[in-house]
Amino acid sequence: MTSGNWDTRLSCTQDGLKMSKNAKRRLIILSAVLVICIFVVILSMVFGEKMEPVSYNYYIENAAAESNMPNAVTAIYLRYRIFDTLFEALLLGAAVSVVFYFASPWEKEFDERRDEENE
């Protein structure tokens, strides 16, 4: 499937919402892929090997002793998975910055309009 082809987007005509041939084909391919994925997942759940929960047992046995914390969940997200926590915080900061800077012209415009209405 080639992406970036703008002819395949939904086009509104006088008859209402009409899909181009390419978009229809894409939808069919997408649904076929989804069905195959679901089928594979179900097959692997039925016939797949059961995995041994290695890290699960390890955390239950050693988390409290290694990290001096009473709660295994806290031990995981502040010790074993500290990078996950840090980059999650970084991701939230990036999202906040993007929202703040991309939306600030709108906000200024809105403030000006409100000030005009108040006067």
Partner: protein
């Protein structure tokens, strides 16, 4: 703006009782997150409810968003510095008695960061939508 239209006496009176409870509950979730279900992210998300209540009572902007965003960035630097000092550089072995302080401190920092960040996102979205509809 439609400030009179949105103003509601009942809502305002009820929310005045709820504010302290929200703050208490948020602080409780942050501070006891070490040994119970909870933690910084969850408590911070609860604390944002204060600003959402303020927005429901009156649609004026009650927080300085630029300041909030600066706090968000600053706290992120503190979190990175604290975690890298304590865990990655091995202060954990050098000063084992700082463990509890570290746990408490990083929970509070994450809570403040999430609260300020989500406040910025909430107010920005609320004012964009509010500006569009009238």
């Amino acid at each position: 703006m439609s400030d009179e239209k949105r103003h509601s006496e009942i809502l305002e009176d009820v929310l005045q009782f709820i504010y302290p409870l929200i703050i208490l509950f948020g602080m409780y979730v942050i501070l006891t997150g070490i040994s119970q279900p909870g933690g910084g992210f969850q408590g911070g998300a609860i604390l944002v409810a204060i600003f959402m209540c303020r927005y429901l009572v009156s649609s004026k902007k009650m927080a300085r968003l630029d300041l909030m965003q600066k706090i968000d960035k600053l706290i992120l630097v503190f979190i990175l510095a604290l975690a890298s000092l304590f865990i990655l550089l091995g202060f954990r072995e050098l000063f084992p008695y700082f463990n509890d302080i570290y746990n408490m401190l990083i929970g509070i920092l994450i809570g403040i960061k999430v609260a300020s960040g989500l406040t910025v996102i909430f107010y920005t979205f609320a004012f964009i939508e509010g500006g569009e509809e009238d």
